[in-house]
Symmetry: C2
């Protein structure tokens, strides 16, 4: 069934009515839906409603809430993936996959070895990225949209990191030295938010490693093989889901 | 440092000499290496040698072994990913990523809901796939090449599965029912080989599910969100690496 995201203010819980504005065209003209067709609507705050289309108004589709879906589909921790600025296609691929895998946020960070240079129109891609996230969220049945942050330089990124309970960076050297503390950090984690920085293709500069370690970031390895910058975020998100979401049920 | 794969028969351990034939052109003309340049050579049987180029012969590059590298980079279990036949681009992307993530084998399986139809030239892509695997293996510093099997139909695939100690299939319905037994299977696994089947875009048909369950396959869920067919193999490989390769070192 189709799934749409709306702002919370468009959900009128008392009257059991939801107004869909942004996807009006998609519902009416692309999907050619009719009155009484059923859809899922997510309020981007973990609530999912099974709805029936009750009216096509001038600028919105009005839906009646039939049922609130209680199934939990979101990770209990907020995980933001930060990545050394890489080419647009790689960023898009990572965005798609980590949306499916349950991340709460993504940002690019301008780093010493980023090959891509940022232009003046630096955040012009954000809108496109948000569309990708929205589509991937609908397909993977998420109830919350991942946030795409503006690109930061390393200094601003360090400031931003102060909002997180646990800050990690995936460091090739850690893998080489079999420093696999990721597991220890995840096993014992009982707080709310994790920030993980992955380097650009060329990895971290010595100075960046120094600055990160001075600012409460922990270096982690992701196993003995060398992962590409676009694979590392998928490993991290899969590991977090595996550790925190898959219960061991003795049968 | 560059890394090349050779057949085991080209390694003369007694004389400490390796002959590189296949990558002759790459070493000499692409990389323009010279005598005494150092490279890594892998024998595709878990051995990695640090070598120095000692001679450019007519049809091979002769290297002297300086040192045998003992670092373990391969998973201790053999994991083969089987996937409902999907478009070539998706297959290539999965091949690249699961090579990085340590898989031992990959095969496509013709399934009821595969949208792609196989042509007579059905296994003509295998050579291209092998090249992709070789490149990804070099980049991710593996010591063993992942095997790319020919495409099978479901009946032959079931026969093939008898070679494995544990056979799993990633079933959307299992995720819906919070059947997350993957973790239980991995925690307790003490054998040698795992085969995991991932459906094509449309998922498994009822009949396929029946046949798989009758043939010793266990259904597993990969968390509460719906993963695409090209993301599921990455989740599985990351989870296996996380469970089996990352030790918890108390600091």
């Amino acid at each position: 069934m189709q799934r749409y995201f709306v702002d919370k203010e468009n959900v009128d819980i008392k009257r059991k009515i939801i107004y869909i504005i942004e996807d009006y065209h998609h519902i009416k003209n692309v999907m050619r839906m009719k009155l009484n067709d059923k859809i899922y609507v997510c309020d981007n705050d973990n609530n999912v409603y099974l709805c029936v289309i009750s009216s096509f108004n001038d600028d919105n589709v009005e839906c009646e809430i039939i049922e609130t879906i209680l199934k939990k589909v979101e990770l209990e921790v907020d995980v933001t993936i930060a990545q050394g600025l890489v080419r647009r296609e790689k960023t898009e691929e990572v965005l798609r996959r980590i949306t499916e895998l349950g991340a709460s946020g993504y940002m690019s960070v301008i780093m010493d070895r980023s090959i891509v240079k940022i232009k003046d129109s630096k955040n012009s891609k954000i809108d496109r990225y948000k569309t990708i996230v929205k589509e991937a969220s609908e397909q993977s049945h998420r109830s919350k949209l991942m946030k795409v942050y503006e690109t930061l330089n390393i200094r601003d990124f360090i400031n931003f990191s102060k909002n997180y309970d646990l800050c990690l960076f995936a460091y090739e050297e850690s893998g080489r030295k079999s420093n696999y503390d990721l597991k220890r950090y995840l096993c014992n984690f009982d707080k709310k938010s994790i920030l993980v920085l992955v380097g650009p293709e060329g990895g971290f500069s010595e100075n960046e490693v120094k600055v990160l370690l001075e600012n409460n970031f922990k270096a982690i390895g992701l196993g003995p093989r060398i992962l590409r910058t676009e694979t590392a975020p998928l490993y991290i998100m899969s590991a977090i889901s595996y550790e925190m979401e898959l219960e061991v049920n003795e049968s």
